[in-house]
């Protein structure tokens, strides 16, 4: 039952990549803001759980993993103050004009271009520390990735992460920061924007999942297990699933025919290579290099130099019994390259009568072709560096969940207008990953921050 009622200028529902930026910008612009988050407020230096089993269960939605209705695609998303920015790999990339041109074509939104977005990227980048991973910090997995790329004539680049003061030389193993960074080096919104906003008076409530909204003439009412709140305006920042779910639960489907549509996820598949000697991919800096091959971009996939802790590797391996145990004995001898596909946005986000998410998403023929091309490139790379065996994990998963409330000029095919307002509902704004018109094929976090900055400046100007 509701326990309190309060009125704010803005309520921001969701405290991840988008919500953190929006909350800080609006608070420092003089608005009275409340940040509501479904998950827990962890104190980074004190209480992030360390074992993989615990952080996966506690920091992710669904107790670790969620699935599409056919249960052949998996989704991972953060559930805590800081959201995806706490659990992600902190790779920060700007979009290219290939991505923006496709967005502009699909949405009719004029500011989707590298040049129009530049000031927002610039701003987002000045608020976080960014570091390029230097040669001497690349672990064996990254070295094999680079060698494989070069052997096969592909273009690669060092990675840029939002981090500061990672004690790599002292032996830090960054894979642990997938469960939250224990020393606040990762520049999540929990470590950057949110504490700055709190210092200016931002109120934050954790365990406050927004279950429903009521849109009124003078205010929006927000229902959560921690009370009912009202605001002049509400910024939905629950991510593709969270923001779409709130609108669906609140009965907006009838008014917004495109609500829940155009979901994409950059399906990713891991390729594990077994070597004779230990590779120790879990040691040191988790990721050090990325593919930047124009041929890959044209063919609709990219390759990630990445690895995962034991439970994730064992689940993705797919098999059980002695084959799994024997395979896991080689954990230290594994290298890994992941294929991420720029997929078609044919997925649909829906809710059942209890408000639970139902995700209809299938890989299309084009998605499968792209995945096959990527897997072929990876196999050649891994074999060129002496892998004894290459195992392609069967289940693809999505870490970049996008769409559901896409931006556009046409209210029949989109949910928010170019001012980030829900069509015909100017008291509701969205700038998170749910507004992506289609899959960019590039890491999304920095662009979500830039879009949130643009939304917040537009709001502050009003």
């Amino acid at each position: 039952m509701p326990t309190s009622t309060s009125h704010f200028d803005y309520i921001i529902a969701g405290s991840g990549t988008s919500g953190g930026v929006a909350a800080w910008y609006l608070q420092q612009a003089g608005a009275r803001c409340l940040l509501l988050e479904a998950g827990k407020y962890y104190k980074p230096r004190e209480d992030f759980p360390l074992p993989e089993a615990d952080y996966t269960a506690q920091l992710m939605w669904g107790g670790g993993i969620e699935y599409n209705t056919r249960c052949d695609l998996a989704f991972i998303r953060g559930r805590c103050v800081g959201g995806g920015s706490v659990v992600n790999a902190a790779l920060m990339d700007r979009f290219d004009d290939v991505a923006f041109d496709d967005w502009k074509a699909a949405s009719g939104v004029p500011f989707f271009s590298e040049s129009a977005m530049e000031p927002h990227y610039d701003f987002a980048e000045t608020q976080i520390a960014l570091e390029e991973i230097p040669d001497h910090h690349r672990n064996n997995n990254a070295q094999l990735f680079i060698k494989g790329m070069e052997n096969c004539g592909h273009v690669w680049k060092p990675l840029r992460r939002c981090q500061s003061d990672c004690p790599t030389d002292a032996g830090q193993d960054c894979i642990a920061c997938l469960g939250g960074c224990h020393r606040n080096s990762k520049q999540s919104t929990l470590a950057t924007y949110i504490p700055k906003a709190e210092a200016l008076g931002l109120e934050v409530r954790d365990y406050a999942e927004v279950t429903q909204l009521e849109y009124g003439k003078d205010a929006v009412t927000v229902h959560t297990p921690r009370g009912v709140f009202t605001a002049d305006k509400v910024i939905l920042a629950g991510g593709a699933f969270g923001s779409t779910q709130v609108l669906l639960r609140s009965g907006f489907r009838a008014k917004l025919p495109a609500l829940g549509r155009n979901f994409s996820m950059h399906p990713q598949a891991m390729n594990l290579a077994v070597f004779d000697e230990p590779v120790d991919s879990h040691k040191g800096v988790l990721q050090g290099a990325k593919s930047l091959d124009p041929g890959f971009r044209k063919r609709g996939f990219k390759l990630e130099n990445v690895f995962a802790p034991p439970i994730a590797i064992a689940v993705l391996f797919g098999r059980v019994g002695l084959p799994l145990q024997d395979f896991m004995r080689k954990y230290r001898n594994l290298a890994c390259i992941e294929v991420a596909v720029r997929d078609e946005n044919t997925g649909v986000i829906d809710v059942d009568k209890n408000g639970r998410l139902h995700i209809e998403k299938k890989m299309t023929d084009q998605d499968r072709r792209r995945m096959r091309d990527g897997l072929g490139a990876v196999k050649a790379m891994l074999e060129s560096v002496g892998a004894k065996q290459v195992i392609q994990c069967k289940m693809a998963f999505g870490l970049h969940l996008m769409g559901g409330c896409v931006m556009g000029t046409d209210r029949k095919t989109s949910v928010v207008n170019p001012n980030f307002e829900v069509h015909d509902h100017p008291r509701l704004c969205i700038a998170d990953s749910s507004i992506f018109p289609n899959a960019p094929g590039i890491n999304p976090a920095l662009t979500i921050m830039a879009l949130s900055h643009r939304m917040a400046t537009t709001q502050a100007a009003q």
């Binding site: 056919r70 019994g321 896991m328």
Partner: protein, 133 residues
């Protein structure tokens, strides 16, 4: 340690499934020998309550099922794609329910109060260094 979320019959079946998925194998303990199911609530408490209730009742009804039935279920979940829909989808769901829970517990580093041998994380020689300050 008794589970608050799964009844005794369900935990017994979890251990039986666990032993099929993770038998004793060299230095690896079997799932039940490791005793990791004692920590099932650490994981299950954060999953959607309806899903855990469903998995719990499924497990509880299989308490006295003969071993070949459980092995048959594991075989079917591992070969879900061979079945027509919607059976395939339900088998995949069951696969992820059973497999992700047992894998998570087995490779969690946790063990039962009475187990003194190496954990599966020791067997695969997994260690992390966290430099706090």
């Amino acid at each position: 340690m008794a589970s608050r979320l799964l009844n005794e019959n369900a935990v017994k079946t979890l251990n039986r499934f666990g032993d099929i998925l993770f038998p004793r194998n060299g230095e690896y303990p079997s799932f039940s020998e490791l005793g990791c199911a004692e920590h099932v609530d650490d994981i299950a408490a954060h999953a959607p309550a309806e899903d855990i209730a469903l998995l719990g009742s499924f497990m509880a009804t299989l308490r006295f099922a003969p071993g070949f039935v459980l092995r048959g279920i594991v075989w079917a979940t591992q070969n879900a794609d061979r079945f027509p829909e919607p059976i395939g989808t339900n088998l995949r769901l069951l696969d992820m329910g059973i497999r992700s829970l047992t894998v998570t517990l087995y490779y969690s580093g946790k063990k039962g109060a009475h187990y003194t041998g190496p954990t599966p994380l020791n067997v695969i020689d997994f260690h992390l260094t966290i430099v706090r300050d």
